[in-house]
């Protein structure tokens, strides 16, 4: 898969060690040069928030409640301002100029970015998204404690091992093992090289060991690799009704999904000034497909639930040869009525393409 920073060519910095005692200093140092985001806890909710001096990295977090996609594809985003005065001029929204560092991204979420890249890069390039991607340095942090709800391994993710980020961190307990995965990563490390020390051979091995250990801790929600499913022929299956009848039609599964990317566009206008913005939308909402005529092709929960799974497991694959799921498990953990994507995959699993 292609990612913005897949230029892994010739990185000649060996693995490093970041002592946890220096960790805060490390964050401070980054903050001086970059916009910095870290997972922090507030009112019992762990989210990636902009770092301000003294903020602590959320302890014992397994992953952030909201996927990081909203750093690249925010829930509400102004696209441009316009004016209806004689010369109808558009005022482009200015792009990020300053680089930013996003710390502590889990492997599953990193994978989700590569899926979003497919959407926002292919055919029409989405400058808003790409600009943010381009300006972001991602520091991945391997999992040590997978959740009940995790099943990323089914999508080829090594929960302990960071792939596709710019820098990989592995928690060795008293310190982190730091591996540089891209030039961007390299530049960041060079910027504050003094904080790191060289990793000994045994640190490195221990790191590798922990990375692979994590896999063993994984629950086996899906015994094997998730295969793309040929659901089309099951379009009329009664299973959908069964699945949907307890669905509340809320947006949790879609808004918490790292790979969902549907949005709506609308305008605000005052006198002759105005602006156009886009914001997340959810296929689980009844008005998602409501047309001006009043017609609504997906009038019932059944159609909506079916659409969501079909899209993730089938339609998306047809377009990008990828399943639009990374096994982060948010949807099944947070679904108020326990609608479980792994169950769906289970139901239709024999229908491989």
């Amino acid at each position: 898969m292609t990612t913005m920073n897949s230029n892994n060519l010739s990185i000649n910095i060996p693995p490093l060690i970041l002592k946890k005692e220096y960790f805060q200093g490390f964050l401070e140092a980054i903050k001086d040069k970059y916009e910095l985001y870290i997972p922090s806890e507030e009112d019992g909710v762990t989210l990636i928030r902009e770092y301000s001096s003294g903020d602590k990295l959320s302890e014992n977090y397994f992953n952030v409640s909201l996927p990081i996609r909203n750093l690249f594809f925010p829930q509400e985003e102004i696209l441009f301002k316009f004016s209806l005065k004689e010369n109808y001029n558009l005022e482009e929204k200015e792009m990020l100029s300053r680089e930013r560092v996003i710390f502590g991204v889990r492997p599953c979420d990193i994978l989700s970015l590569s899926l979003l890249d497919l959407v926002f890069e292919s055919e029409k390039k989405d400058s808003y998204y790409l600009n943010k991607r381009d300006k972001s340095i991602i520091i991945g942090l391997g999992c040590v404690a997978p959740q009940e709800s995790c099943f990323c391994t089914s999508f080829g993710v090594e929960p302990g091992k960071v792939i596709g980020a710019d820098i990989s961190l592995t928690d060795l307990g008293e310190n982190y093992l730091v591996e540089i995965l891209s030039l961007k990563g390299e530049s960041l490390v060079n910027y504050c090289s003094s904080i790191f020390s060289k990793a000994e051979e045994r640190d490195f091995l221990r790191g590798k060991n922990i990375q692979s250990k994590t896999r063993e801790l994984m629950p086996s929600r899906l015994e094997s690799e998730a295969k793309p499913l040929n659901l089309e022929k099951y379009f009329e299956s009664p299973e959908w009704q069964k699945l949907a009848e307890t669905c509340l039609g809320c947006g949790i599964c879609t808004y918490l999904c790292p790979t969902c990317h549907c949005f709506d566009i609308s305008d605000k206008r005052w006198l002759e000034e105005g602006q156009r913005f886009r914001c997340w939308d959810s296929c689980m909402f009844s008005d998602f497909t409501l047309m001006t005529s009043g017609h609504n092709p997906r009038i019932n929960k059944k159609e909506r639930v079916r659409q969501r799974f079909m899209h993730k497991l089938s339609y998306f694959y047809n377009r990008f040869s990828e399943i639009a799921c990374v096994g982060c498990g948010r949807c099944l953990k947070y679904c108020p009525v326990d609608i479980d994507i792994t169950r769906v995959i289970g139901v239709f699993k024999d229908e491989g393409k």
């Binding site: 507030e42 009112d43 397994f62 959740q147 509340l248 909402f285 108020p336 326990d338």
Partner: protein, 323 residues
């Protein structure tokens, strides 16, 4: 345990056509979750579940059921019955098409609290067992036992269960009186005090923070048994009650309006707060209004079918602080 005594009853009711289908709890994907189960065929009873984690309020599925002529059976806890009362008052259910089967409940467990006690993902909990006055979580590293009062939903401490004439059938009558956690005269509005005592500035900061987290997934609304409007104001396309853009200040329009809309209907089942993925303390809003309504108009929702919501009535010599 109880689920065994539950299924024959449901089976019977399905067989003799008392109900067309039954709303109950089924095995969930996790040990700390149950899944709402709609039983049409006796075979589906195999998934039937009844345990400490049957916190969901199934009556939310009764919203608008008056449109269908189905006869519906529901497994209810004491607190769920209150929602039924409000749904009947709101003409959302035909009493005749309803069969309430009440299961004795002396408290449900809040997985969130469990999570805080034993950091689940660390010592992989595989399941749990009831012990005398507590729960034991079975983990790879051994058993962790907790006192159940520590992990109950706060609403359970305040449980004011009283047998209701609406209930058609009680599962083991004699356990009725044991139907409450052993906490006498609990402080109903405990949670409020902390906030009420803050100074206004702190309070507004507190709420700004909370509201700013809202992602407008509308789970709080959709799960609420008394949010039974076919089309919510906030789903109306032609009227701009709130803009689609997610701004904190507009979030607070949504949440405050919602609190006012369920005022005098909210029975405090706590589902809105339970399902919120961003952990907004929504019950604090509802509870505040429950308190005010109680103090100003001496009214509590869900108690009986007769009394009328004070917002639908008026009093000529109401308390009046306005000039």
């Amino acid at each position: 345990m109880k689920k065994n005594s539950l299924s024959p009853i449901i089976k019977e009711l399905l067989k003799n056509g008392t109900v067309n289908y039954f709303l109950a709890y089924g095995k969930g994907s996790f040990w700390f979750k149950v899944r709402p189960l709609i039983i049409r065929e006796p075979v589906e009873l195999k998934n039937l579940e009844w345990n400490r984690f049957c916190y969901p309020n199934l009556t939310t599925y009764l919203k608008d059921s008056s449109r269908s002529q189905d006869k519906i059976g529901v497994v209810v806890k004491g607190c769920d019955v209150k929602s039924v009362v409000e749904l009947i008052k709101g003409n959302q259910i035909d009493r005749e098409n309803l069969f309430l089967l009440q299961v004795p409940c002396d408290g449900t467990v809040d997985p969130g609290k469990v999570e805080n006690l034993v950091w689940i993902s660390k010592l992989k909990v595989t399941g749990f067992e009831e012990t005398g006055n507590g729960l034991e979580f079975i983990t790879k590293e051994g058993r962790v036992s907790v006192n159940k009062e520590e992990v109950f939903f706060s609403k359970c401490y305040k449980c004011d269960f009283a047998p209701s004439p609406l209930v058609d059938r009680y599962l083991d009558e004699e356990r009725l009186e044991k139907n409450q956690p052993s906490i006498d005269n609990p402080d109903l509005y405990e949670e409020l005090r902390i906030i009420e005592e803050m100074n206004p500035e702190k309070r507004s900061i507190y709420w700004e923070k909370q509201f700013s987290r809202c992602i407008r997934c509308f789970a709080c609304r959709n799960v609420c048994p008394v949010c039974y409007c076919p089309t919510c104001v906030f789903d109306q396309k032609d009227t701009s009650w709130i803009s689609k853009g997610v701004k904190p200040e507009e979030n607070n329009i949504f949440h405050l309006t919602r609190a006012l809309h369920v005022a005098t209907l909210c029975t405090g089942c706590g589902e809105c707060e339970r399902v919120c993925p961003m952990k907004l303390p929504l019950m604090e809003l509802n509870l505040k209004l429950i308190k005010e309504v109680d103090e100003l108009y001496h009214y509590k929702a869900g108690v009986d079918l007769q009394s009328i919501s004070p917002l639908k009535e008026y009093g000529k010599d109401d308390y009046d602080e306005f000039k």
